[in-house]
């Protein structure tokens, strides 16, 4: 949102704001039902997939390309595999869904979020990781998939029984 410096900046801003929202809303309307219908129910099948590739295909039906615009924040070494703080944020526009995958967990898909219009594309959550593996964040923006990957080391703590 560029800030204009005219005498009544706020009034102009509001006008601009409402105009773009209406446009965006209309534009979105056409797509929304198609996309919303696709993933508005619990993606049972995707959660059952073993590998990350199969889970992505089951969830979105297309493949993702890595993108610098997706910032995945995860620790170098997880302090504990049961509670790993992982968050993602993106500067991509028109984001409708964000999902997290832990590649070598029994089932790769860990969590998937539906981002309605007006919700910011950035999420923090705490996931379980079975062992050292790649964490992948997938962002669905304007119908296309973008990804970011980071390896997180996980080992058992303590000095043993």
């Amino acid at each position: 949102m560029t800030t204009t410096t005219g005498p009544h900046p706020t009034r102009r801003l509001i006008l601009q704001g409402t105009a773009s929202v209406v446009l965006f809303g209309l534009g979105n309307l056409a797509f929304a039902p198609a996309r919303a219908a696709a993933n508005d129910k619990y993606p049972e099948d995707a959660f059952k997939q073993k590998s990350e590739a199969d889970a992505i295909k089951a969830l979105y039906g297309k493949t993702a390309e890595p993108s610098e615009k997706v910032k995945l924040d995860a620790p170098e070494i997880a302090e504990n595999g049961a509670v790993v703080p992982i968050s993602v944020t993106t500067t991509l526009d028109k984001v409708t869904s964000i999902s997290f995958f832990v590649a070598e967990n029994p089932n790769a898909l860990a969590a998937s979020y539906r981002i309605p219009d007006g919700t910011m594309p950035s999420i923090a959550n705490r996931l379980k990781m079975a062992k050292t593996t790649n964490v992948v964040a997938i962002v669905e923006a304007d119908g296309k998939l973008f990804s970011a990957t980071k390896e997180v080391k996980v080992t058992v703590g303590g000095c043993g029984g």
Partner: protein, 287 residues
């Protein structure tokens, strides 16, 4: 030339001072001097970790490792001990069957007093820890005592710790030979090697804090009880001081003593006293 002479004199002076220090400390070892012990204990850690802020030591492993500290701060935004804290607050407000509450057993209604525990009870001639005092309060009011290692006790101590957050640890040792003996007994326990792995508390928390055993970073012994009770991801649940001592014992393959055994009460007394001045940061979240 001048510089080197002063250097020489300086090093000579230092040697003399060191020698002077060594001699009395040998004889001091026999006479129990908690204040000197506490000063030496704190100086050891402040010198070993010069860039760790003194108050930061109470954050255990998180004062030793940046990556871990970031994970901790993220957890602290909405900490997992939140539920235990709320449960403790509720329990504190719920009267016993006889109408009394915990507030009636403790000075200042139990609010903001955690930093004074454990204390030495001159009548009983023994150290009384917060967990022990809570169970004695329950028994005095006709209620069954809680397990020292389960959630109820952790919730109560979590709430009492929370009401003392930020207050400096303030443990007193009365001028009573039995109190000095309890302090010394706690110190001996802390440094004694046990279990088949032949470790003492000091082997990990004095010789190698900041280093890793597998994924975990070892916490420094200074202020190690200030954050108690803790929610440990490892246990995915709350841990009281008793639970921590018992699991530490079994990890070195030593058979744990019964909760609130004299040795545990005394080592808690020792560890809390030497952390005097450092803030209470409980309840804590740990790996």
């Amino acid at each position: 030339m001048k510089a080197s002479i002063s250097l020489l004199r300086g090093s000579l002076g230092a040697a003399l001072v060191a020698f002077a220090l060594a001699v009395p400390s040998v004889s001091a070892a026999d006479k129990v001097d908690p204040a000197a012990d506490a000063k030496a204990f704190q100086k050891f850690f402040f010198k070993k970790f010069p860039d760790v802020k003194h108050d930061d030591f109470v954050n255990g492993p998180y004062s030793m490792n940046e990556d871990m500290k970031r994970q901790w701060q993220e957890k602290e935004e909405f900490p997992p001990y939140e539920f235990s804290l709320d449960a403790g607050k509720e329990m504190f407000a719920t009267p016993f069957k006889n109408g009394k509450t915990y507030a009636d057993c403790f000075p200042n209604g139990g609010i903001g007093i955690r930093q004074n525990y454990p204390y030495f009870d001159t009548k009983e001639g023994k150290v009384v820890t917060l967990e022990l005092a809570l169970n004695r309060c329950r028994e005095a009011n006709g209620e069954a005592p809680y397990s020292y290692v389960k959630d109820e006790m952790a919730s109560l101590t979590a709430y009492m710790a929370f009401t003392s957050r930020g207050k400096p640890m303030d443990i007193k040792i009365p001028d009573d030979p039995r109190a000095l003996e309890a302090f010394e007994n706690g110190k001996r326990y802390f440094y004694t090697r046990r279990g088949q792995l032949n470790f003492s508390c000091a082997s990990c928390h004095v010789q190698s804090p900041g280093e890793r055993i597998r994924a975990e970073i070892l916490a420094p012994a200074l202020g190690i009880l200030n954050a108690m009770p803790i929610y440990r991801s490892e246990w995915s649940g709350m841990g009281t001081i008793s639970r921590r001592f018992i699991t530490c014992n079994s990890q070195t393959r030593a058979v744990p003593l019964e909760p609130q055994a004299d040795e545990y009460r005394d080592v808690e007394y020792f560890l809390s006293y030497v952390a005097n001045g450092l803030p209470i940061s409980g309840p804590g979240a740990r790996p």
